[in-house]
Amino acid sequence: MSIRSQRDFVSGLLFVIIGAVFALGATKYTIGSSGNMGPGYFPLGLGILLALLGGFITVRSVFRGGQDGEPVGRWAWRPLGYVIGANLAFGVLLGGLPSIGLPSFGMIAAIYALVLICSHAERNFRLRDGIVLATILAAGSYLAFVVLLKLQFQVWPAFLVER
């Protein structure tokens, strides 16, 4: 027997797992009673509800859905990887990684890294375009966030700026 809606099947299972994890986690806290709820009462109830509902969605997906089986489809690993990767690179460069002694490289470097990595998410990436875009965005962000809004940023690499 084939599943009528694979998307619903997967999402239902996901809800079951998440609900169960929250419900189990909630049992570590005081549950209390309805008249005097502990910190675990509300999450336990919600977790159980979510798991039950997820289970229902899963079961239903076997019988109900479109003709094509509503497949989840291919994962777009390329944009996913580059967008998330660009974001992580931005965080590392902006804040540094104190745990391994990596200093902050500042906002400008972080913006260039983010734009250049992120642009790869699309196939026809051109380096010149990327650099132009990064320069515009870096200048614009500097103006908007640092000069106009006076937000606190490490703008330049920490080891180049005297404290």
Binding site: R7, D8, V10, S11, L14, F15, G19, F22, G25, Y29, T30, S34, G35, N36, M37, P39, F42, P43, L46, L49, L50, L53, G54, F56, I57, R60, E70, V72, G73, A76, R78, P79, L80, V83, I84, A86, N87, L88, F90, G91, V92, L94, G95, I111, L114, V115, C118, S119, A121, E122, N124, G130, L133, A134, L137, S141, F145, L149, K150, L151
Partner: protein, 503 residues
């Protein structure tokens, strides 16, 4: 005349050069966002929240509100010119607006959208001013049981009126509620579900969730689709003004749209989108006058009705937020966040504790709507140019502003890691066909619901029947049940699915 006194107080507060400037910036930014595909008002407001930290509370809210209705407006421009709805609420405008553009009538279509929106915005603002006071009175009669029931109604309403699978939407609400209670429990001081991460004791930052799920998730999903072929009708935008015949048709349609939109906007989960769909369905039902273009082929009523309805709905959806403190849609949920950042607890007390803020915001909405009309008709050329900007240049900027924005909310890199996770999760949601909007509402309401449930049951000594023995609370719950039942009726269900199919 209280209403006039109040409104004049509001206009006094809003008519300062600075506030006018922020209303202007907000409307422009909103229109920009609405015009640019691939980024919605939720992500924009989330991105700009940190920017508003530095502003006084009223200016901040004025700017955010400007973004919201500016986006509604900008969305209709792309819908008409490129058949791409910039916002979900302009999906229906595509149908007849784009056909009008193809027949060389882009100008009148754009003007109709602008004038209809402005008219509806004015009425919506008046409604907001008129209804807020009595509703606030009612809100003071609310105890914890009523608030809990009201939130249940709000959440149910949000999923009933939204598109997509009802069950999955309810599951997303539950997930949102669960994520909302991550952090320190206010009653016992216990840190819940923090996984030992100190940054999580304050809870998950909702800016990170909003940007990750709505910003990154959308970007990734857009990039995975082949580039769309866009045909822009630029040459045809010459004469803007509708003919006399057009006016005869569009004015009643705009009136009907405004009335319907204002009513649907007040309902939780309503906002602009549902209003636009409802109005289109209504216009289609009304008999065509002789010589009228059929629907789907460029009927001006198909633009005037939905456009008025979505703007009126956008305006009146502030009513539940400002009077009860309950956000009816994700944009309003972000407004709650903005208010809390400025130490304003949204709810009935805002009107008495910060009257300038309350009435100033209402007055600024009218000002913002006026600005939109004055600015957008002449600026249409610029918006058209923006439409030609390739997504290739756009998405790195979106990713960047999300990253900077989330960093500046707390100045910690932890939020940047969090937004990365939320982005991946958001993409998974899109792949699985689950709507992220209910999650956002649940997330905002989670702590409030728990608190009110606790108090209600503490007062009743643990007796759950308090929810149905108090008449107001029972009424609200009954309304929620009725909504669910009505939607689950086979006849209505088929209609609902049909209504969301033709986009």
């Amino acid at each position: 005349m209280d209403l006039i006194a109040n409104l004049s107080l509001g206009f006094d507060a809003a008519f300062t050069p600075y506030n006018l400037l922020y209303a202007f910036i907000g409307s422009i930014l909103g229109t920009l966002i609405g015009v640019l595909p691939g980024i919605g008002p939720v992500a924009t407001i989330a991105m700009l929240l940190p920017v508003t930290f530095a502003l006084p509370p009223l200016s901040a809210l004025i700017m955010l509100a400007g973004i919201y209705y500016g986006a509604q407006y900008g969305g209709s421009t792309t819908a008409i010119l490129v058949n791409l709805p910039g916002e979900t609420s302009s999906v229906v405008t595509c149908i007849d607006g784009y056909q009008m553009a193809r027949r060389g009538r882009a100008g009148p279509a754009l003007a109709t959208a602008a004038l209809g929106s402005f008219f509806a915005g004015c009425v919506g603002t008046l409604m907001l001013a008129a209804f807020s006071a009595p509703l606030t009175e009612l809100a003071f009669k609310f105890g914890p049981a009523e608030y809990f029931s009201l939130m249940v109604l709000g959440l149910i309403g949000a999923v009933v009126l939204a598109s997509g699978s009802l069950l999955k939407a309810v599951a997303m609400i539950l997930l949102g509620l669960l994520l909302g209670i991550v952090g320190t429990d206010v009653n016992s001081g216990v840190a819940r579900f923090t996984l030992g991460i100190p940054e999580l004791t304050d809870g998950i930052g909702f800016v990170a969730i909003a940007m990750g799920v709505f910003g990154y998730g959308e970007v990734i999903s857009n990039l995975s689709k082949p580039a769309e072929h866009r045909e822009v009708f630029t040459a045809s935008v010459k004469h803007l003004y509708p003919t006399r015949d057009d006016f005869k048709r569009l004015i009643p349609a705009a009136l009907r749209g405004t009335v319907l939109g204002s009513m649907l906007g007040i309902l939780p989960g309503g906002g602009g989108t549902m209003a636009a769909f409802g109005s289109y369905a209504l216009e289609k039902k009304i008999k065509a006058t002789p010589g009228e273009v059929p629907f789907g082929q460029g009927n001006i009523r198909g633009v005037a009705g939905p456009e008025s309805a979505n703007n009126a709905g956008a305006q009146t959806s502030f009513i539940p937020l400002l009077t009860l403190g309950i956000p009816p849609n994700p944009v309003m949920a972000l407004m709650v966040g903005a208010m809390m950042i400025h130490n304003i607890q949204p709810g009935p007390q805002v009107m008495t504790s910060n009257p300038e803020l309350f009435w100033g915001l209402i007055a600024s909405m009218w000002i913002g709507n006026l600005m939109l009309v004055v600015l957008n008709l002449p600026l249409i050329g610029i918006w058209i140019k923006l439409l030609k900007l390739p997504y290739r240049y756009l998405f790195p900027a979106i990713v960047l502003f999300c990253a900077i924005g989330v960093y500046t909310t707390n100045n910690t890199t932890f939020d940047i890691w969090l937004v990365a996770i939320c982005g991946a999760v958001g993409y998974v949601f899109i792949k699985l066909g689950v709507e992220p909007a209910p999650l956002m509402l649940g997330f905002i309401l989670g702590p409030m619901m728990e608190e009110n449930l606790r108090r209600a049951l503490l007062l009743s000594r643990g007796d759950w029947s308090v929810m149905v023995t108090r008449p107001l609370s029972a009424g609200l719950l009954l309304a929620a049940v009725l909504m669910l039942v009505v939607v689950l009726l086979p006849a209505v269900k088929a209609k609902r699915e049909e209504a969301f199919v033709d986009d």
